[in-house]
């Protein structure tokens, strides 16, 4: 897998970047947490950035630790969950569906 842009590892991570990451990850972190996490992530990132020291230009990446390919299932139906079991753990349901609060219209739209 390759991605379009490629920046070198950042020297540090800012408070604003941490706030952005928290938003991307749907974490309503507090102001105090922002300070703590910014400092801690900075230390961790500097430590893990050491992977960049390894000359690995032509080395293939390993995404899977097993040498398997084409693991496929036949197109045969199984028993579904009874609906009450499917819904049993949900915080809120209405008429057999999972209820959620209003979705902001500028939120991500799938497909």
């Amino acid at each position: 897998m390759s991605h379009q842009t490629d920046r070198p590892p950042a020297a540090g991570i800012s408070r604003a970047e941490v706030a952005h990451l928290a938003r991307l990850a749907r974490l309503a972190v507090t102001e105090a947490e922002l300070d703590t996490f910014a400092g801690q992530l900075d230390v961790i990132l500097q430590a893990v950035a050491r992977v960049g020291e390894v000359a690995a230009g032509d080395i293939p990446p390993t995404s899977h630790a097993v040498p398997l390919t084409n693991v496929l299932r036949e197109d045969e139906p199984i028993q579904c969950l009874p609906r009450d079991e499917a819904l049993a753990g949900a915080p809120d349901t209405v008429e057999g569906r999972f209820r959620v609060p209003r979705i902001l219209s500028d939120e991500e739209d799938p497909g």
Partner: protein
């Protein structure tokens, strides 16, 4: 039956010993279960190994074994033996929290493959054991439900993330336990509690129903007080599962026979590689002293010990702390308060995005949040190649190091962990100090190779573990070596609780 074993004795027995008594009708499975449930009731206030004790379910499962025996049905080798299951495995109808508030009260509608295999083999599930939240940690201090204490010293950590499973063994609450090992979460708790912990070959045990932390690394495995017991449990849970695409469709190596062979104390013709990069750096002197004595013992058993070099192992920890958080940031996205688990802040005024964010903020602890943000960062388009992509290349190099080392030796050895159990709070202030606990265990996870931790003496009165690593799908080799070591260096008994 002439003599009836006392409950306290039952809790000190090996799993295979218990199974033999049950099979012979010397003791009922219900009595065995009750003895362990009583022991849990008597000790778990202090140890806190369990998040959930299933007295009713355990008793019923044990009664079913007794009924099957009475009916003359054949019993599988561990039928009637109690087992503690790490709370990261889905158990049908039994709360499964992963040590997190976000899953408090969730009762899965299905059993993990590992749990289903335990039940099918007549093992008696006692309950669910404590763990660092979503298996992220090395001390159980990150459990949302309070830490587990090390039975050797209640002021110290039992290791992590599977501290509950290992502590339950050291506290004689259970003869067997199930764990999951992503960077050392079975082996490191095994080492610091003086018990045996096994990370099988990745793909050798099914991940179906194991709540994912880092999918390409997570491996279910057995925990026990003896190598033979671990092998017997390994044989029950291992083997191909069509429900896990990464499950290897090959026969499981005969680990039970390998452990039996090792127990004879003969390692003639076995060549062991001492990994230069995993001996010394960051290790406490007491740990190294115990390790060296164990190496001497292995030599005396006939093994030839050679030094091997795995030059990229020094990069295993950084690579791991990019790959595991990246995968976890995606795996843990599903905890959003829509389909199961906690929902916070839905007061009728807030929009979904805000409710999701408040839910995740309230439901996850600090270490989980740190790793989610770290992984989100490492997968971002601007950083992917430098972080996640590069870590995966390092992973390839580490696997190549293993291949080269296994060309020189049948199995590799190292200390399991650089330091013995530390005191609570010692490493929580600086997250990276905690990460160092997994320094020696992580390479096997990155390569998908199996490894075992077996007790090898004490340092300052606390247990030390020796790690044996084997090539993928050659799990039997490490069992043989570990059993041989155990035969001359029996695990020290923990102090009375």
């Amino acid at each position: 039956m002439a003599e009836r074993a006392e409950p306290t004795e039952l809790t000190r027995m090996t799993a295979t010993g218990i199974a033999g008594l049950v099979a012979a009708g010397e003791v009922s499975a219900v009595e065995v279960a009750r003895a362990h449930l009583d022991r849990i009731a008597a000790t778990d206030q202090r140890v806190h190994a369990f998040l959930q004790v299933d007295t009713e379910g355990a008793t019923a499962a044990a009664a079913a074994v007794d009924a099957a025996r009475a009916a003359g049905a054949p019993l599988s080798p561990l039928a009637g033996v109690p087992v503690a299951v790490k709370d990261v495995f889905a158990t049908r109808g039994l709360p499964t929290t992963c040590g997190s508030k976000i899953l408090e009260g969730w009762r899965p509608p299905y059993d993990a493959t590992t749990v289903a295999r335990l039940r099918a083999a007549g093992l008696v599930v006692l309950g669910k054991t404590n763990m660092d939240e979503f298996a992220m940690g090395s001390s159980t201090e990150y459990s949302a439900y309070g830490p587990t204490r090390n039975p050797w010293d209640l002021a110290r950590i039992p290791g992590g993330s599977g501290g509950g499973s290992s502590a339950s063994l050291a506290a004689f609450q259970a003869p067997l336990a199930i764990g999951s090992d992503t960077g050392g979460s079975i082996r490191q708790p095994g080492a610091v509690t003086g018990t045996v912990g096994v990370k099988p070959t990745y793909g050798g045990t099914s991940r179906y129903g194991l709540v994912a932390f880092s999918s390409s690394l997570d491996t279910p495995g057995p925990c026990a007080r003896t190598v033979a017991d671990a092998a017997a449990l390994h044989a029950v849970i291992a083997g191909h599962d069509p429900g896990d695409s990464t499950s290897i469709p090959q026969p499981v190596p005969d680990v039970v026979a390998a452990a039996a062979r090792g127990a004879t104390g003969d390692l003639a013709g076995v060549r062991l590689g001492l990994v230069r990069e995993l001996a010394g750096e960051g290790a406490e002197p007491g740990v190294m002293a115990a390790f060296r004595e164990a190496v001497d013992a292995l030599t005396k058993l006939g093994a030839e010990v050679v030094e091997v070099s795995c030059p990229h192992f020094g990069y295993a920890l950084p690579a791991y702390y990019l790959i595991a958080p990246s995968e976890c940031s995606s795996n843990l996205a599903r905890f959003d308060g829509v389909r199961y688990g906690l929902r916070t802040g839905d007061d009728g005024t807030r929009a979904l995005e805000e409710v999701m964010s408040l839910t995740r903020e309230a439901g996850f602890g600090p270490e989980v949040k740190r790793r989610i943000m770290l992984g989100t960062y490492a997968l971002s388009s601007g950083y992917y190649d430098a972080y996640y992509g590069q870590a995966q290349k390092v992973r390839t190099l580490i696997a190549r190091d293993f291949t080269a080392a296994f060309a020189q030796a049948d199995a590799l050895i190292s200390p399991t962990t650089p330091f013995v159990a530390f005191r609570f709070g010692e490493r929580t202030a600086d997250p990276y100090q905690m990460y160092l606990a997994d320094l020696y265990t992580i390479p096997a996870n990155l390569a998908g190779t199996p490894a075992i931790s077996v007790p090898c003496g004490l340092s300052g009165g606390m247990p030390v573990g020796l790690q044996v690593m084997a090539p993928a799908m050659a799990d039997d080799r490490m069992y043989r070596v570990a059993a041989a070591l155990e035969s001359v260096l029996p695990a020290p008994a923990p102090p009375q609780l």
